[in-house]
Symmetry: C2
Subunit: 412 residues, 2 copies
């Protein structure tokens, strides 16, 4: 189902608000069969909006508009959409009643301008808004579905899940089934990975394969078409098997699975507990491990040993080591990991120390030098040194990613 | 300077990669005078790309293209741009040499396909890429600036800062000066805030005012135009003064300043040290405090007391309290804050405990119930209970935001 997304609002173009709705729509609707062929962001401007709608209508079967449904003068989506498809705007009495009711409940007189939100292009169906006053609208005109949704992500999200996703799913079932699956990898560079599977790439083939590199991993997407969903899935299964054979345990998960979810599942199923001792990452690793619901079963906590006094005081790292080798070395990473095992009585400990920058680098240990140790009660299981490029944020992120990956490889 | 951004790449439309480049460009270039009138995302498709470029050229003076500069067959930006403006692609010998040099250094034979990246539309100027092989291109054709940048954010970002931003700045200086400033607030709801400054809103006025609500705060943007930059700034200064008078210490910063930067500056200037004891946030607060470069001067570290055994063991919280009241109560927040002051020997301690969900809520203490205490050596300075809506991620984020804001208000 060819789809175009039109995001409307000056705030999206002047830096006041990031455009998260396009990503949300893409991430929710492509897995169920939407083929997004374009995204357009325009301001609250009738001419721009009209041009975007008319152009989209000639190319897509589903046009999703977000924003511009509020009560104020710069909210133009209803009028512009009605005009673009040649429909009149009519008052929807159910919506009218519910808006009036809202004001009665609040004991406030309703400004007349609010009734603008009860106007719907003739033939349009209303999508109820449980989190705000602006309802959504679905309109089918000359074989094209127009769906207008409110701009605030909290109001839009339930409509996407509850109405738009099932609609796309149903329409796509009827057509030929196009399915995809992402394999997530960590540990191979993009080029090293591509070399191993070069012969599997067929740009216009079925299945097709595409690669996306992230700061700490590479994703591989397999896409396949068939007359039935199951048949498409079978094609994907077979290619996945071949890829896994070649990439081995560098593949850690599928689709939106995160490394912390995968590691958490492994720890959980083995009844193992884990704790962190973080210097340069300052709590990021604990934050990621605890981002998984139910993580309290295996994640016990940790010590943010940002200053040396915490390293010596709470984790028992001898001052001599810090004085002689500095805080950034393999031995300190190991002592951090072993120290947290002892302090928290956990099975696995992770220690991270390094220089996240922008200052503090030396010729010996430049910014981006990171030592990570994963240990169990018998001692260090693995200690690794990394030298990451990038800024403070990305160095810290990559450090946490590598630490999680080291735990995963230990448990595989 | 009217600007249109064209982001190119199938990965942006199929959910493989979020489109962060549009936001980065908008956030970097609008403050220095770019007026972004549209964003278009298209796949790696010659016809779509050409249509986007031709349409943009009739409306904007600056067209920024991202992506499609790599060496492979689906990277089409160079060819399509050259064709769209009627220029030939010519080999740039400096780029050719530098690409060849890269392969020599790596001791690898260069695949001929890589030389594609040395082809530049005639009349185009190359922007060096320090982080990858694909250089950027600037082309001035019939009064329109075309700037093509590589897709990977790490490669694009330095080019935006180093080349594009100064270019836009210079062009905008010459025109009438349009300036803006954002005031960041925390502690008032959008409607409560708007009530206090209602009379200052003038939609088409000069200065104009716009509001954006975020999950944990509200931003106010003041925009003003004048014939000189200084004059526009003076208009903004005067409105900012009036707004601050009314919103008092709910205004915490300007433009992209984060709460952790503001709090960090305050701690630093007062020579104070801080530590965290986090239960439900799992390290997020420490991660945010340590995100600021130079934070080691005031942030000493913390204890991630995710499990009760860490709360009793490392922070000395009596087991009776946990047994009688549970881990989520004001007293535990206070003991966490006081405990970390003692354990880390810091001046200020923050304790956070709560239920981030999705499970673990009771009728008494539903998901979203959070207790936060900020203490100094004399005891609890303030303890607050919050009940946040939203999912696990947003509950944890808001908790960290409120904790930082409590520290800020204590230090103001």
């Amino acid at each position: 189902m060819k789809t175009i997304i039109i995001n409307i609002g000056n705030e999206l173009l002047n830096g006041s608000r990031r455009n998260s709705n396009a990503d949300l729509l893409i991430e929710t609707l492509t897995p169920v069969g939407a083929e997004v062929i374009g995204v357009v962001v325009v301001g609250d401007d009738e001419r721009e909006m009209t041009a975007a709608i008319v152009t989209a209508a000639s190319r897509a079967g589903l046009i999703i508009l977000t924003g511009g449904l509020g009560p104020t003068a710069d909210d133009l989506t209803r009028q512009v959409l009605a005009k673009a498809v040649g429909a009149r705007l009519v008052m929807n009495h159910a919506v009218e009643r519910s808006i009036k009711q809202r004001f009665v409940e609040r004991g406030v007189e309703m400004p007349a301008i609010n009734l603008k939100q009860a106007m719907v292009p003739q033939g349009g169906v209303v999508i109820e808004n449980n989190r705000g006053t602006a309802p959504g609208v679905i309109l089918n005109h000359q074989g094209v579905f127009y769906v207008a949704l409110p701009g605030p992500p909290a109001e839009l999200q339930p409509m996407v899940e509850g109405v738009l996703k099932p609609l796309v799913e149903e329409k796509s079932e009827a057509e030929q089934s196009r399915r995809w699956r992402t394999l997530r990898t960590c540990g191979l560079s993009e080029s090293a990975l591509c070399e191993k599977i070069e012969d599997l790439f067929k740009t216009d083939g079925n299945p097709s394969l595409s690669v996306t590199a992230h700061p700490a991993g590479v994703d591989l997407r397999i896409t396949a078409s068939a007359d039935k969903k199951q048949a498409a899935d079978a094609i994907i299964d077979s290619l996945e098997k071949e890829i896994r054979k070649r990439l081995k345990d560098n593949v850690y998960g599928r689709n939106s699975e995160s490394l912390e979810q995968v590691v958490g599942r492994m720890l959980d199923s083995r009844n193992m507990t884990i704790g962190v001792a973080e210097s340069c990452t300052g709590g990021l690793l604990g934050f990621r491990l605890s981002a998984v619901a139910g993580s309290s079963r295996y994640f016990k906590g940790g010590i943010i040993a940002y200053s040396n006094s915490v390293k010596t005081g709470l984790l028992g790292i001898p001052e001599e080591i810090l004085a002689e080798q500095g805080a950034v070395c393999a031995e300190v990473a190991e002592k951090l990991a072993m120290g947290v095992i002892k302090a928290l009585d956990v099975k696995i400990g992770i220690g991270i120390t390094g220089i996240a920058g922008p200052d503090g680098g030396t010729s010996d240990k430049p910014v981006g030098t990171i030592f990570i140790c994963v240990a169990d009660r018998d001692g260090a299981n693995g200690t690794a040194k990394f030298t990451f490029n990038g800024d403070r944020e990305s160095i810290r992120w990559r450090s946490s990613q590598m630490a999680l990956d080291m735990v995963r490889r230990m448990l595989v």
